[in-house]
């Protein structure tokens, strides 16, 4: 869904947008829930974030996030640089903890289980919640097939060659990379182009069969053709996985996501926070908060 025409041609002033002042006072939580219809019951990959505050030692980096991320959809996190989007997405698979002193207050529920509950093993969390990084990082000393199997080898006991080959093909097909590399599965992963490497990383991530896939600016290091390929891939993957993507590119967010959350920051040294979250088409055509309007219309950021 693209931005509406009025914004593509002219930069609307405050007066041209529909009157939104009456909606400014409604709390975010209610707005979020009001836009969904029946909530599916039973096991699903819904993420519920409750009053999440993320700290680096004493410094509060992200404050008071409350959001629901719907299963089998793509949710985009947008906002200016340094406002905590990456920190937040990393807290969804507890990757921010690799920095010493990082901790959180609040909770993140996946299928009703709090990722930060007592007795939770971060390693187990990361098996459930996969991640693709900004720069493609296939293991340089491993072949393409070994890269795909890397995560699986950690998690499972021995599996036979037949099973391994099947998994490699299935994951590479799932990442739309199979046809391009099926003849050189034993070559090193570093010999591929940037876009292919990124799809390899996606294949590696989905090989462990996570429920949720986090993507931290996955296309920012890629050319437009590769970016398009990844975006098409995201569209296919969302029928199986819950995808959360951080992106600097608003057009990309508008293209791929169903829901969008807008993060911002008041100044350096201040914590980042969520301003608004809504269906993507609403966020880009009819956002409710002034700072959201300013951002999506390009007034800042």
């Amino acid at each position: 869904m693209t931005m509406s025409d009025q914004q593509a041609t002219t930069r609307p002033t405050g007066e041209e947008l529909p009157d939104m002042t009456d909606r400014l006072d409604t709390p975010t939580a209610n707005r979020v829930s009001a836009s969904r219809h029946d909530l599916p019951t039973g096991p699903d990959n819904r993420i519920v974030v409750e009053s999440l505050n993320i700290y680096y030692s004493e410094f509060l980096a992200v404050k008071d996030v409350n959001m629901v991320i719907e299963p089998r959809s793509v949710t985009a996190l947008i906002g200016p640089s340094g406002c905590g989007k990456s920190t937040f997405i990393r807290s969804l698979n507890r990757m921010h903890e690799v920095i010493t002193g990082a901790h959180v207050k609040g909770a993140v529920f996946v299928d009703g289980e709090n990722l930060y509950g007592p007795g939770v093993d971060p390693v187990a969390v990361r098996r459930k919640v996969g991640m693709v990084f900004q720069r493609p990082n296939p293991f340089p000393t491993m072949s393409i097939a070994d890269n795909v199997l890397a995560g699986k080898r950690l998690n499972s006991k021995r599996f036979g060659k037949g099973e391994a080959d099947a998994l490699v093909e299935q994951s590479l097909r799932g990442a739309n990379l199979w046809d391009e590399v099926k003849d050189r599965l034993d070559k090193p992963g570093s010999g591929l182009s940037g876009g292919q490497q990124q799809r390899l990383c996606i294949a590696r991530a989905i090989a462990v069969e996570p429920e949720i896939l986090l993507m931290d600016e996955p296309c920012s290091a890629l050319d437009p053709i590769s970016t398009l390929a990844i975006e098409q891939l995201m569209n296919e993957l969302k029928s199986t996985y819950t995808i959360v993507i951080v992106t600097h590119n608003m057009q990309q967010a508008a293209r791929v996501s169903q829901r969008t959350a807008f993060f911002t920051i008041d100044g350096t040294g201040q914590p980042g926070y969520v301003v608004e979250m809504d269906d993507t088409d609403v966020m880009f055509s009819n956002p409710k908060q002034q700072s959201t309007i300013d951002y999506v219309t390009g007034r800042f950021g």
């Binding site: 690799v98 340089p140 000393t141 890397a150 950690l154």
Partner: protein, 320 residues
């Protein structure tokens, strides 16, 4: 700083400043080039002089030496002892060095890691003679009291521990342990460097797949650092091969080929043998000792060349 002004029309003779600067350049450049060439000359001289001094040995008859031994049967046990001692030292030192390097780079808290790094660099510089007297005064008694009897009783069926266990502790095992302690800092320093250079990106890729810390190290850190560790190990091996004083002080030498590490009958190393015999030697004996030195030079040259090859070839794989 002089500013030489060169007017567009040529002068009949260059101004004095140009001349002195040309002369200065010639002298200075000449000195530098000369120094560089002197390096090549020095190395050639080392090889040449050693060969010249060693030459009489090869032509001489066995009867001209004390002990009536041909050169080959003289240097044989020494060569064996050199390689055996160095091999044992590397066997002990390498796993410990890698473990300590991993500890410093990935497990220890920052402060401890920095202190340890500094301490290890310092230890690499402690003179070998100090290691030698520590070995014989402190380590040898401990080993001969606690370790050798146990080894002989429980593992005596192995040729390495066949005994009879030495009571003085002046054995190959003690020497190997001291050598290991001496080469540990080198291997640790190089390994630590290489482990610290593992790209953050690959470590995070591993963790994001749900790897535990050890699994991440096995998946991302060790494959990346492998060639660096090997090259460090070879450098350590080179040092162990050439080590003189520690072995000379500790080992109780005998003219044997023996794998027994806890007895009083130990093969000596080339370097230690030279140190022990040279001060009192004369005539053909000196030539023979220098000939063994030549053999040592050849071995260490080979090992170091291998180390350089591994370290330059290895990084192309990791960097890809």
């Amino acid at each position: 700083m002089t500013i030489t002004d060169t007017p567009p029309d040529a002068r009949p003779s260059p101004p004095p400043t140009e001349q002195t600067s040309k002369l200065g350049d010639r002298i200075f450049g000449g000195l530098s080039l000369g120094a560089g060439i002197l390096i090549l000359v020095t190395l050639a001289a080392v090889a040449l002089f050693l060969i010249t001094e060693a030459w009489p040995t090869f032509g001489a008859d066995a009867s001209e030496f004390s002990g009536n031994k041909s050169f080959l049967s003289y240097v044989g046990p020494l060569l064996f002892g050199t390689i055996w001692a160095a091999f044992l030292a590397l066997l002990i030192a390498l796993p410990m060095a890698v473990a300590v390097a991993l500890f410093i780079s990935h497990y220890a808290p920052k402060r401890l890691a920095v202190t340890c790094g500094y301490f290890i660099d310092l230890l690499a510089a402690i003179p070998s003679v100090v290691f030698g007297i520590w070995g014989i005064a402190v380590l040898a008694p401990i080993l001969s009291r606690s370790v050798f009897p146990w080894l002989e009783d429980n593992l005596g069926f192995l040729p390495f521990f066949a005994g009879p266990a030495s009571t003085s502790g002046r054995t190959m095992m003690t020497a190997a342990v001291v050598l290991a302690v001496m080469i540990l800092p080198i291997i640790t320093a190089i390994s630590r460097e290489v482990f610290l250079q593992t790209p953050r990106l690959h470590e995070e890729a591993s963790l994001a797949l749900g790897a535990t810390k050890w699994e991440m190290i096995r998946q991302a850190v060790i494959p990346y650092g492998r060639s660096g560790v090997i090259s460090g190990a070879m450098l350590g091996l080179g040092r162990a091969l050439g080590e003189t004083m520690a072995v000379a002080i500790i080992l109780s030498p005998a003219d044997v080929f023996s794998f027994n590490t806890i007895s009083n009958q130990n093969p000596n190393t080339i370097a230690s043998n030279i140190a022990l015999k040279f001060p009192e030697s004369s005539g053909l004996e000196v030539n023979r000792l220098i000939a063994t030195g030549l053999v040592l030079f050849a071995i260490t040259f080979f090992v170091n060349a291998l180390a350089r090859k591994v370290s330059s070839a290895g990084f192309s794989g990791a960097a890809g």
